[in-house]
Every structure is written in C-alpha cells, then in structure tokens.
C-alpha cells in the first residue's frame, strides 16, 4: 500500500468514526450539536475573549480535558465557525492517536504552530473529523438533492446543518452536489481551490489565481470590492471557461459558458463558486 493509499484509508477511518459519533448523538434533528457531545463526554467548556491566541483549544491537564472557544474570533458560540471549531477539537478527543498524544503530555503545551497549521496532517485530520461530524455523508447527500444548484443551495444546507459557508461549500463540492469549482481568496490573494469529481474528470483542473485579473464587474470582483449585497445573499454573473481555466482556449469546444457566484466571508476573504451553465459537463 502506498503512503497516499494509507493516508486515504486513515482519513476514511476518521470519517467513519465521526459519522458514528454523529449518529450516536444526533437523534431527532439533522443538526449535530458539538456542545451536547462535549457535555456527554464530561469535557468542560468555556467561551471567553482570548484575544488572537486561537479559534479553539483542547487542553489536557491533571487527567481531564477542557475546551476553550475564543469569542474574540468566533463572534458567537452559535456561529457556524464556532460549531466547526468545537467539532474540530472533538476530533482531537475522539481520534485515538490524537487523544493518546495529549494524554501522554508529549504534545506542546503551547500552540505555536500556526505557520504551517493548514498543512499539518494532525489539524487536517481534525478538520476532516469535524466536517463528517457536522455533515454526515448520507444525511448531507440526501439533503443536497433537495436544494438549488450553486450558492443558493450551499446557503440552504448551511442553515440546515448549522455549518460555516466555507465548510458547507467544500462538502458540496467533494460530494458532487453540483459540478462545482470552488476558489477561496484571502483578503490579499488566491488561497486554495477545490474541484468536484465530475469537474476534475472533465479536465477542468487549473484555475486562474491572479487576483488582479478578476474583472471589477464580475461576481467575484463585486464581492471583493464589498458592493451592496443582492437580496439572495451572493453575487452572480455569467462567464466562460477560458476566463477561469488557463488550460481552456477561447472559442474551442470546451470553452463553455459558466455561472460565477461569489460571496464575501467578512474578514476571511471571498469564496467563488463556478459551475457550467448546462449544470453538467
């Protein structure tokens, strides 16, 4: 087994674990409540203003766990970001290797690893756990079939599952709720991209990453400029594949029309969602 296959198997195991936990603690409603799971596991929890130190933090001391939620960053304990952060910390608790490391005291007592945090496999695993805990595959895929395509559907699913726009959009893209290309822009520059399986299979695999090339009157340009938000909650414009995918030449058969939607994520930047006007490749 290659290291990539082994890594995927580990992520699959973590997804199964998270979905099992979600099923166990989510009875009547579709929404998983991380705070209820934290209470059931007898983990104490405090929300406070902890300046810019972290979003959330799981601490093991004297044989007991405690979770801190930082309202300075999370704004409200009911926000999608707060719920995802708590679910992320629960990932560190439920994933055996993470919990053992914390219990052993071998982990740093100081969380000063923000520089490479997003690439840190441990943090990625906790994010993976959180995503599956809050948006379990079967329930999410079933709900995804009942919503409109694009950001309208993403926002509806966000409300149903109580998650953040970004995490919901990623889940929609990975699960092929639509033939999506998802691009995240930080306030300064391109941050990351994600393709749905059908988009990737159709050969649309590279995106334009230069912020300066985004037309001011496009949906993304308007969101970046902070224009007045339309009533539906996001900007929308028509575009072409060649405008966004460098590998597609203008005027060729694959240069199909795309719908471009964008939403401002406050201080975190802008999210762009692209899908073919025909809704399929």
């Amino acid at each position: 087994m290659t290291s990539e296959q082994e890594r995927q198997r580990r992520l699959d195991d973590i997804a199964d674990l998270a979905e099992g936990v979600s099923d166990e603690y989510t009875k009547a409603s579709q929404r998983t409540e991380p705070e209820a799971i934290i209470a059931a596991k007898k983990i104490t929890l405090s929300f406070g203003d902890y300046a810019d130190a972290f979003d959330g933090l799981l601490e093991h001391k004297n044989g007991a766990f405690h979770i801190y939620g930082n309202l300075h960053r999370l704004k409200s304990r009911e926000s999608g970001r707060a719920r995802f952060t708590l679910a992320h910390e629960l990932g560190h608790f439920f994933i055996d290797d993470h919990r053992r490391e914390l219990q052993s005291g071998r982990t740093p007592s100081h969380p000063s690893f923000s520089d490479y945090q997003s690439k840190n496999p441990v943090e990625q695993e906790a994010d993976h756990f959180a995503s599956h805990l809050l948006m379990p595959l079967v329930r999410f895929a079933k709900a995804g079939k009942r919503v409109a395509i694009g950001l309208e559907g993403v926002l509806a699913l966000r409300d149903t599952f109580g998650t953040s726009i970004t995490s919901t959009a990623i889940r929609c893209t990975k699960l092929e709720v639509g033939p999506y290309t998802l691009i995240k822009w930080s306030p300064d520059d391109f941050e990351w991209k994600w393709f749905s399986p059908s988009t990737f299979a159709a050969g649309y695999r590279a995106v334009m990453k230069t912020k300066a090339n985004i037309p001011r009157d496009s949906a993304t340009g308007k969101a970046m400029a902070g224009d007045t938000l339309p009533e539906k909650g996001f900007f929308q414009s028509g575009t072409s594949a060649s405008a966004w995918f460098p590998g597609i030449w203008a005027g060729t058969q694959r240069d199909v029309l795309f719908i471009e939607q964008a939403i401002l994520l406050g201080e975190f930047g802008v999210l762009t969602l692209l899908f073919p006007e025909q809704r399929k490749f």
Partner: protein, 120 residues
C-alpha cells in the same frame, strides 16, 4: 537398471515407529502417558534451564498488539516551548498566548470545573 541397494544397518519395516517413539520418550518430546513417564518427564524438566526469549519477557507484544499506538500515527508538531506539568494542548489556528490570556484561561477552566462538580 539395477535395483538400489538397501543399507545393511537400516531398520527393518515396523521397527521405525518403535524407534521414533523410544527416542521421543527418552528426550521427553512425547506426551508422558504412564505414571513412570510423568515422573521421568518432571525430573527431566526440573533439570532444564529454559530461557524465555527477550522479546517475550514483556507481555505487550503477545497480549495487546491492537492497543499499541498505530504505526501510522502522526505526531503532533513539536513546538519550542516546554512540555511540563502534564499539560498538553491542541489549538485550531493557534498563535502566541500572552500571560494575561493564559491567566484568563486558567480562571475560566477552574470556574467551569467547579460548576461541573456542583460547587458554584
């Protein structure tokens, strides 16, 4: 073609089984079946010095392989700070914790732990 010759000292047919049994009994490799054989086996074992392989001296590899940390475990990133007093943390988007924030965290945790014990 000439028939292969039979060694002169080879056991005759039927003798082989008896000779093997005799050897096993003398070297206490067969299961003792009579009181005399049991007594002989016990006397033989008492005089033997059987060393347990070092890898089996600890019960861990034989009894609890499934409970040991997976070889695929991914270590937490190491930070510069100390690891002391049984304190360990995993932060989401963590940055420097200033002393006043550290103090606030300590206070908040103690308060919540008191509440959990029913001592407000």
């Amino acid at each position: 073609m000439t028939k292969p010759s039979h060694p002169a000292n080879a056991p005759k047919s039927g003798d082989t089984e008896r000779l093997v049994e005799e050897y096993l009994r003398r070297s206490v490799q067969s299961i003792p079946q009579t009181p005399e054989e049991v007594a002989a086996a016990e006397a033989w074992i008492a005089n033997q010095s059987i060393e347990v392989p070092k890898r089996l001296l600890a019960a861990d590899p034989c009894v609890v392989p499934a409970l040991r940390p997976s070889a695929r475990a991914i270590p937490f990133p190491q930070a510069v700070s100390d690891v002391g007093q049984g304190l360990a943390r995993a932060a989401r988007d963590g940055k420097t914790i200033t002393p006043d924030v550290e103090e606030r965290m300590k206070r908040d945790r103690e308060q919540k732990e008191r509440e959990a014990k029913g001592d407000k």
